[in-house]
Symmetry: D2
Subunit: 351 residues, 4 copies
């Protein structure tokens, strides 16, 4: 839709109409009391709204239609999609359209024994998918960066352990991939590729990961609107890969004074995303809150809001974890979270 | 705590120490490798950190202790409080420490019949407290401002109806009070005084309302941190009135692109507030989301996160509501929300 | 503009058209490839977009036209206004359309001698309007609240001193008014009424102040968009009072980690507001940064961005100020700021 | 500094002390009226505050010292640095400590003739460094992604043109590098490596770029605090490369209602960064505002705030630009901006 200024001339209006028609669309001109509004009819994605906005007499030029049609529930039928909730299959785990799936494991893989022990314990606590970080994005150059920081070899060794642990305890595995150069290596070992919040805007990475044809877990950037998360997931879908799981993990806090959580968990994103797209959406209560004591209530809240899964960081001894200790729960705590979430899901489902 | 600059002199340090001692506190000086840190020992509220921050050589001066000791769970025992969860009694309804309490009713009171009908229907749907707006804060001078906009007489008539409806259907009543001049009038008719988000920072109103010695419902401002909400509730507590119910109702959205909700509901505020204070906390899913279809999932999520109550706007015909139609649920929808929340609460409680 | 869902029926569309026509406007229906867009033609302010948004098949309903027509530059000619930059006259000071006006004085009036001394010194430093706070909004109930906190008598005494100081040094005076009950009292003593950031949304106060028929200084709330600031200034304009000066004073900081300023000063607001309205706009570098060392550079930046004035807090001894010492400049510092700003203004004007 | 809970036991305190001593630091224990505060003495970077925060009885654990000592002005003398403003030399252009440097050119390189023409014209308008995008980060998969999107060959061709244009018109050149795999290729052709806002958190990219030993232009992420920008620039400095130029380019907008600019330009970041570090800082008025009409006033404001340079996008015909047309200025407009900024700089410098 193009809104003209109150003092736009007839020539200004005509130039906009021509620009629209040149792109193969039709222009509906609506002359109001104060201003004229021009509505393009046709596939709006073919219009350069940026360029139209620079024309004389134009006040605003913006797309009315969705910028993420490929994954949109509303547009599904125009693209031969059923539009019903999609189930993504990771290994033999079905995520979406059913009981919430629990993804759990250490924030960072520190050693083979650490990983094997946590894998066994999270399995026992009810987790279905094993996570473990190889490449850790850190704010300080002086902090532990994950075993992947030692280069491809260190990374591959840790990835081997991850696969081994998954096999040993019968869980598909997922890890964050950081940097295009690591995509193929990671894809050889994992069942799902995880794109972290900091990389949501990294379109090269999105495309490279999409092409591995494995399920993709895409986290919302902490400075991104929901619309941006959906628009960037379109980079994956445009490669023909619609096995996408979206993840809400908190946005940057706002306001003066102490922030009691690391990020602000935007749980309304869960039903909003379900309304906009047929893709499943999960919640990460660990990174969003950064507080062990909030994982339980926020996991329950996420499931009550309709989340298709949870991603939770676990360590048998949080005070020994090399990264993010304050947000780790123990395997025992995980078990009580899983139990509560299952009961809550059953209750919500009946309603 | 006062952090000195790396190049602060011994004289700078001494001046800070003297300033602290002049206020009757003791100063602990800790000399580090790069900088000196000075810790005041005693009641920090007696120190003018603002003033200390202006002294030569001072890098930062801030309070380490809580700025809201009167309502703090941590400090409760120093103030002769039990520190256990507080139950606030409104009429004969107990809020806090039990099943979530449902506050429901129209956004704005439009007429006596409208209010009586909605009161009857929300009661039937399971609500325990009746709400109804007399003074409506609006963004546009051209919108309906509530019956209170006609002055004290219009306000009193609407307040009479509210009391009448509460009596007829056996519910205590609550309404928002806007403007100190209306405080006494409103207090004559309602069982709980509601201070809206826009007025959270209005300390005169807080004090005036606190003095009515009725329960106070204080909403978090949409630009306020949790710390500020707690600090401002201290204005009420300092008047000796600790019958305070805090309410999370969303903070301003952030980020580029479309915001799918009116505000960002910060549900982690519920367990955070429960950790910081013994006061009960409720959630308003109506104003935070602004979307009728999100009231159900976010009500469930709020209860799962531990909310002590919900405040929900209801209208028998949302398309006829004079204010905020898009966020109104019908009485039937309210009933299913109440039912779901009660079942969820029972499930959470068992866990 | 009303955007229909992709699956809206012909009946849905007709109902929207009828609703628009019932309000006396015409409806332009534009049927696109995927969805239908309905544009109301006529005075959009007569439409209840809220209500239309609740109708079946409606995806979004929003106003295309400006919500603040009375003060809009674009709409000026439809309302008999010239649309050129407005000059507001305070006492004998002309603000707008010329050299930036300097408003300076203490944050809080502490005593008659304190005020008289500062008044003399800011006059000497080049200030044209004297400010001094009588009612101080504070985050903590335990802090000094201004002399007005003692009630109407304390307030009146401080207001007398303010007027006396203004007369003695030939400067019109301005103070913040907080609470409707104080409006008339304040109006008797000052040349301009200042509505603080925390009260920007207080429509009752805006209307009461507007009716005093004195110039109004309206500060942007720290959680408000520019659109909201303009919409709320319409409350003043709708009373027939267009002597409005808008003030940018910073919005709440965002992001993790240390915030080096109290608020984020949004200087682009200056040219944006100049583009949207013919009202003058000033900047408050004191409250926005909260840091004495940033007042100079941000004052210069504000003037370079086109600000019509500055509001700066001054104290002869910042370490003795009862409120906000860290953001006070001394009279000498004020003089160098004023000098720099005058030279910058001359330079910008020549360009 | 570690703040203990009010109910921490003596054993809790001892365990924290031991943890600090185990890392080779000393622990200063300060017992207050309500709580105990423990201050580590020594190099705080050796402490795992994350881990300490998980210990029993600990309320908060955080670093008091700067997380970015290598580039800090305060700590300079401890690291053998002069601490005075640093001048970064790009080709033969000196940036920092003098007249603001103008970096200008097209947003995206579209063709050799487009680039050559713009290079000539920006040189004529007073620019000293030529910019031109090869890899364009875009929100929509359906938009033009820059010539680099065609792979290494397309990228190299565009880089050749850039170098050629720089040589022809005697300007060093800069381009954004996206993706580690492109770092070496880009380094062969440019005089300065630019890391875009979206990649500020990409530590692998930062390290790879730093190792090219060319000046690095690091933009602040739109969701990042200033503290984070400084902490991430430490990744570059830790590689021994301190030829870092920081760039403020706006943070995500906040609040309800229309945002009149793409981002919120945080100009106070300029003096704040100058206070914290000796590195130069520039401003990008193009991406921050997204509006051609705001480039002039915000450029002036940036220079008045003390910016060491500006980065401005230019096109001879904004309505033909393939990317970001609405924020392009013409070469004539650039000339008047450069002229105004030079005069302003001279005025500020004299003050």
């Amino acid at each position: 839709m193009i809104i003209m200024k109150t003092d736009a001339t007839e020539e200004d209006i005509q130039r906009v109409v021509e620009e629209i028609e040149r792109s193969g669309l039709r222009a509906d001109v609506s002359r109001g009391e104060y201003m004229t509004v021009i509505g393009p009819v046709g596939d709006e994605r073919r219009l350069a709204f940026d360029r139209i906005a620079t024309l004389a007499g134009v006040k605003e030029a913006s797309m009315v239609e969705s910028p993420y049609k490929l994954i949109s529930r509303q547009y599904a039928r125009f693209f031969g999609e059923p539009g019903a909730n999609r189930t993504v299959i990771i290994g033999d785990v079905h995520l979406g359209n059913g009981e919430p799936v629990i993804i759990a494991g250490p924030c960072a893989i520190e050693s083979r024994p650490q990983l094997m022990r946590i894998a066994e314990e999270v399995k026992g606590a009810g987790a279905q998918i094993l996570r473990g970080g190889v490449f850790k994005p850190r704010s300080s150059v002086h902090s532990f960066q994950g075993l992947g920081a030692a280069g491809a070899e260190g990374a591959e060794e840790a990835l081997c352990w991850l696969k081994e642990a998954g096999d040993a305890f019968d869980m598909p595995v997922v890890t964050e991939v950081r940097g295009e150069s690591m995509v193929e290596l990671v894809a050889r070992y994992v069942d799902m590729m995880h794109i972290g919040a900091r990389n949501m805007y990294d379109q090269d990475l999105l495309v490279a990961v999409a092409r591995q044809r494995k399920p993709v877990l895409l986290k919302r950037h902490f400075g991104a609107s929901i619309e941006e998360l959906l628009s960037f997931s379109e980079y994956v879908a445009a490669e023909g890969n619609k096995d996408i799981i979206l993840c809400e993990r908190g946005i940057v806090p706002m306001g003066k004074g102490k922030s009691f959580t690391r990020y602000t968990l935007d749980l309304a994103a869960v039903p909003v995303i379900h309304d906009e797209t047929y893709l499943p959406v999960i919640v990460d209560p660990s990174h969003s809150t950064g507080r062990r004591d909030l994982i339980y209530p926020m996991s329950c809240a996420a499931v009550a809001a309709g989340a298709d899964g949870l991603m939770i960081e676990v360590h048998y001894d949080p005070s020994e974890a090399l990264v993010d200790g304050p947000q780790m729960v123990t395997p025992d705590e995980l078990r009580s979270i899983v139990d509560a979430c299952r009961r809550l899901y059953a209750t919500v489902k009946k309603s």
